[in-house]
């Protein structure tokens, strides 16, 4: 058997199979007895209004993270692309955030926005905005979106910059001669030619926002206040390892797996076709 197949089997198929198996079981809180309950765990998820609320939060969170991180990094990439002197320095500085651990990134933003000691919270206060994400759920959601997006900007920046540099200079020149100003050139030439990169990053960022942001949320808000920053992944952790409902937690993971599978299929089937040229 090929080694890569073995790796897939051990590190993906087996744990995923375990999760599926677990999702059909109910265990007591002390792990002493286990009962096979068929789809009872799933039934519970889909009749729980709190779960739907979590799903909605996740959608807002993911859309926010994706839009913000891609928008900011595209802006940075376009500007870095025009830098002639010291371009390498800019690139290096912009790539640094990627080396910061998610929890550290979360704590960083937590400190800056901290209602009592935070620099940014203080500045917001001086312009009349009262910031307290420990009490205000919307502000808490905004904060985790900013922290999660910031973490992803470096990655997006690298790809956007590579995409921009792959566009031949002569196309910009031809468009300039064709009478298109800088803004028009960006929207009619540069952005359409970047669309394969944009699509790829869209898939990566949505998956990131759905699955990879647990550390940041855990460090900043722990899902609160209330349930305002409780995403699906956070819910899996909280129900499983805090609430010790392992069966229900496993069922949620399986739902998540299916969800991401579906999203990726939809993206590739309906969006990818439109971004090739």
């Amino acid at each position: 058997m090929a080694p890569q197949l073995l790796v897939t089997l051990v590190f993906f198929i087996w744990p995923a199979g375990q999760a599926v198996w677990q999702s059909f079981l109910v265990e007591d809180a002390f792990g002493l007895s286990t009962e096979f309950v068929w789809f009872e765990n799933y039934a519970q998820i889909f009749t729980d209004s709190r779960y739907y609320h979590t799903l909605w939060t996740t959608i807002i969170f993911s859309a926010g993270v994706t839009l913000m991180s891609m928008g900011v990094s595209l802006l940075l990439a376009v500007m870095a692309d025009q830098v002639v002197r010291g371009a390498q320095v800019y690139k290096t500085l912009l790539i640094w955030p990627y080396a910061v651990a998610p929890a550290v990134a979360g704590v960083l933003w937590l400190f800056m926005f901290h209602p009592t000691v935070g620099v940014l919270a203080y500045m917001l206060d001086t312009i009349g905005i009262e910031w307290n994400h420990f009490l205000d759920g919307d502000q808490a959601l905004l904060l985790v979106i900013i922290a999660a997006a910031w973490k992803q900007i470096s990655y997006n920046f690298l790809f956007f910059l590579a995409g921009l540099q792959a566009i031949p200079q002569s196309l910009h020149e031809a468009a300039a001669i064709d009478g298109a100003g800088p803004g028009r050139r960006f929207f009619t030439i540069t952005f359409p030619l970047l669309s394969p990169t944009t699509f790829f990053l869209l898939v990566v960022n949505v998956v990131y926002a759905f699955f990879d942001t647990f550390g940041i949320i855990h460090a900043v808000t722990k899902g609160g206040p209330g349930d305002s920053t409780r995403t699906l992944v956070y819910n899996v952790f909280d129900d499983g390892f805090v609430g010790l409902d392992l069966g229900g937690s496993a069922a949620q993971s399986v739902v998540l797996m299916v969800l991401v599978g579906l999203m990726t299929v939809v993206q590739f089937r309906f969006v990818e076709r439109k971004v090739q040229y």
Binding site: P168, S170, L171, E173, A174, A175, A176, I177, D178, G179, A180, G181, R184, T188, I189, P192, L193, S195, Y277
Partner: protein
């Protein structure tokens, strides 16, 4: 339709490199100008200055008498065909051609009319809905032409537009571009390093070397009386042979021989003697006053002609490489040197020190 005036145009890059040195020329309305020179000579920089893609360091650039030095490319009303065509890959052929018109605020109907007219001139009618990647090299080249023509600009600029095509297509497109330019009567500036394109297409040629115009003139002028050895060797294929000689009165000393020249020169001293390969022929005892003994090393049959590469004895007994172009087939297998003759009026003489053509008096 426009005239184009370059008045002492120079280009100096921030690193101190001088790409173009004080170039001046008046280009008449409808004229086809070819800028030719080896790679790195500054010809592309010059074209990009005309287009407005590079700034002019000093000198004046006029289109139709108006100074355009500071104008953006879009405001100069020029069209450019790029070496790699620079077609917009995400747009159809139609949109590629319509893009410049849309940006300039033309109406939908006018755009459709113009694009369709241009497409039919270039036989692109059936390709209008295709994307560039679905086209062959020659078709892409035509779309690039169409994009330039459709706007009816004052000046066409061509940046080595045929260098990405295969040999056969290149000849075909060469003729097509020339014919189109004639029909439209639009002033054109065409950059190439290919001397055949330069000769065949140009009304006037600018031969550039190291950023300076070595000679400006009609192709036949430049072929017949090149001003410098560089121009002489660059225009004409295969390139001109050079032998070292000495001019004393009307006597030209070439190796061990002394030849009486038919024309007088006001010059005495060391000269470079240029001989075009096609001006050499098999020696004919009755007429010739001059002959060269060529030790043939290699023969290249071209069909109608044969190129002979070999050496002739030069000054100080050193061998000098020489190429001759003879009519018909070359079948000589003997080890004897081949005697070649030449009409002395076809000799080109250059001052060895200044590299300038010697004037006759």
């Amino acid at each position: 339709m426009a005239t184009l005036t370059l008045d002492a145009i120079s280009k100096k890059y921030p690193n101190g490199h001088e790409a173009i040195k004080h170039l001046s020329i008046d280009i008449a309305d409808g004229e086809f100008i070819v800028i030719v020179g080896p790679s790195g000579c500054g010809k592309s920089s010059l074209l990009r200055m005309l287009a407005g893609l590079e700034t002019v360091s000093s000198g004046e650039l006029l289109i139709d008498g108006n100074r355009v030095n500071e104008k953006e490319p879009a405001q100069r009303d020029i069209a450019m065909v790029f070496q790699n065509y620079a077609l917009y890959p995400h747009m159809t052929v139609y949109d590629n051609m319509a893009y410049g018109l849309k940006n300039r605020g033309f109406g939908k109907q006018e755009i459709a009319q113009r694009v369709e007219r241009t497409a039919s001139v270039l036989q692109l009618d059936h390709l209008l809905t295709r994307k560039p990647r679905q086209l062959s090299g020659g078709q892409r080249q035509r779309v690039a032409m169409g994009r330039a023509i459709v706007r009816d600009p004052k000046v066409f600029l061509f940046d080595e537009p045929l260098s990405n095509l295969d040999a056969k297509l290149r000849v075909q497109m060469r003729i097509e571009i020339k014919r189109l330019q004639r029909e439209l009567g639009t002033t054109a500036v065409y950059v190439t390093h290919d001397q055949i394109e330069a000769m065949t297409m140009a009304d006037r040629l600018i031969v550039i070397n190291n950023g300076a115009a070595e000679q400006i003139g009609t192709p036949m002028d430049i072929y017949d009386s090149p001003q410098t050895p560089f121009v002489a060797s660059f225009i004409g294929s295969p390139s001109m042979n050079f032998l070292d000689g000495e001019l004393i009165g009307d006597q030209l000393r070439l190796g061990s021989e002394s030849i009486t020249l038919p024309k007088k020169h006001e010059f005495e001293g060391a000269v470079k003697v240029g001989i075009r390969p096609e001006h050499l022929h098999r020696f004919d005892h009755d007429q010739e006053r001059f002959s060269l003994n060529l030790n043939v090393q290699l023969a290249e049959p071209l069909g109608a002609d044969t190129l002979l590469h070999g050496v002739v004895p030069g000054a100080n007994g050193a061998d000098v490489e020489l190429t001759a172009r003879l009519r018909g087939e070359y079948r000589d297998v003997s080890d004897e040197p081949l005697r070649l003759g030449l009409d002395l009026n076809d000799l080109h003489l250059f001052d060895s020190k200044t590299d300038q053509r010697l004037a006759t008096c």
